[in-house]
Symmetry: C2
Subunit: 256 residues, 2 copies
């Protein structure tokens, strides 16, 4: 069991998971991350299926991802995951991404709460007696989630939550928040720079049929803040997207 | 080599690939199908990478899928694929889907053309000397693609082609056509019925930034026709979606 305190999962990048540059997209990387977290939690008996039996559910509060290099189409990627800490209402789970040669290509930090499925309110993790196994020997050298400012900008676009957007719980899927957010950028932007750091704070659930507004503002240092709001003007997520500070070596013909 | 004339590939369904009913979605099933086709073509030396070297590219003209049963979250699914025939301008590749117990859960038929990457025009497959290996012993018992009528209906909605929609060739990804099409249906519809048969005819490529209109009309016998048109009113795809003729046994609480 001691050996499993850091879980390791390997994925092979599908053609359908890459963008026009043949690089794995952030929403698909997030799917690998969520899948690894789920599998690892299951080993210790606190996966989604297990907690569901007590009418509880895991919800993501924050994700921070930093990538030094993105895997390409058909590349293998290893995802290592471990629990960093457990507080009363939250637990922190970290990730390291490695390429096929075992070289580190990125890290991620996530924060989770366990909620009651009816009240949708968080449960005291310590009282609940979840059998966490904390790893205090593995480092995650990226900065923790920062406080993301509120956007002062006009609505850039709106979308409604559709069949393909919703997850098992009938809410907008975590990786679909990210897909809608990065779709606020052009191919031209991605042809010049990679996303170096991505942060998201999930503040409210979005149901099927809800109309969501996207607000985007550009800050200095290649940073963008993107906010999603529901019809009542409530902020459902805040995110910060930091593009690399140097142009990519590769040249992409956008053909438009 | 003879043994590979039917390729077989196994996939494990990710939580991110299922819908609110925990069933694999059609666009994700299509990704499995495309991935299997790509891997199988590669064995014989006519995969995308190989033909790309001659400035050629495979494009999908038609997909027909019939599903008797959909796999659930974490289920394994086997995809068998083989080439049925080769004509001057088209080749037909079929698929059988099997569940973890080896039971057939569906079939698919696809039609492909090989195009010149610059002219975007199809190449004579016979003259080109592609090393196809035709399998004439395996049956695909579903009806071939039918002629899909033109829709007489108002525009239901529009969407623009975004970063996450485009593939390696900077065009709307085949499975994203299907995602946009099935997103024209409600959770309520999927809570009652599965899609039993899905047909799509790809008629034109869609580039990043293009605004696409979706037209939908309901026909008798649980059939729907959905058409996508570009800004010039050109039809880019036609599809026919047939839902099952009986309500599902499962009951889904839509929570809305």
């Amino acid at each position: 069991m001691e050996n499993n305190i850091v879980g390791e999962y390997t994925f092979k990048v599908f053609p359908s998971e890459v963008d026009f540059r043949k690089k794995l997209t952030l929403p698909n990387l997030t799917n690998y991350l969520l899948n690894s977290a789920g599998n690892h939690a299951e080993i210790y008996g606190f996966g989604l299926r297990e907690v569901n039996q007590n009418n509880l559910s895991w919800v993501l509060s924050r994700i921070v991802i930093e990538m030094y290099k993105y895997p390409y189409n058909r590349d293998k990627i290893k995802v290592q995951t471990w629990v960093e800490s457990v507080m009363k209402m939250f637990t922190m789970r970290n990730f390291e991404f490695l390429d096929k040669n075992g070289e580190t290509i990125g890290y991620a930090r996530t924060i989770w709460a366990l909620i009651d499925k009816d009240s949708r309110k968080p449960i005291d993790l310590v009282k609940q007696g979840i059998p966490f196994r904390i790893c205090d020997t593995k480092e995650c050298p990226i900065a923790k989630a920062s406080k993301i400012p509120t956007v002062k900008a006009d609505v850039k676009e709106t979308f409604s939550v559709k069949y393909s957007d919703v997850d098992l719980n009938h809410h907008l899927n975590s990786s679909k928040y990210i897909e809608h957010i990065i779709d606020a950028f052009t191919l031209h932007k991605f042809s010049k720079r990679d996303i170096k750091r991505f942060e998201i704070e999930f503040l409210a659930e979005c149901k099927f049929g809800e109309n969501i507004s996207l607000l985007k503002c550009e800050c200095p240092n290649n940073e963008f803040i993107v906010e999603l709001q529901n019809e009542e003007g409530k902020i459902v997520s805040k995110s910060k997207i930091v593009f690399g500070d140097q142009d990519l070596d590769e040249k992409y013909d956008l053909g438009v």
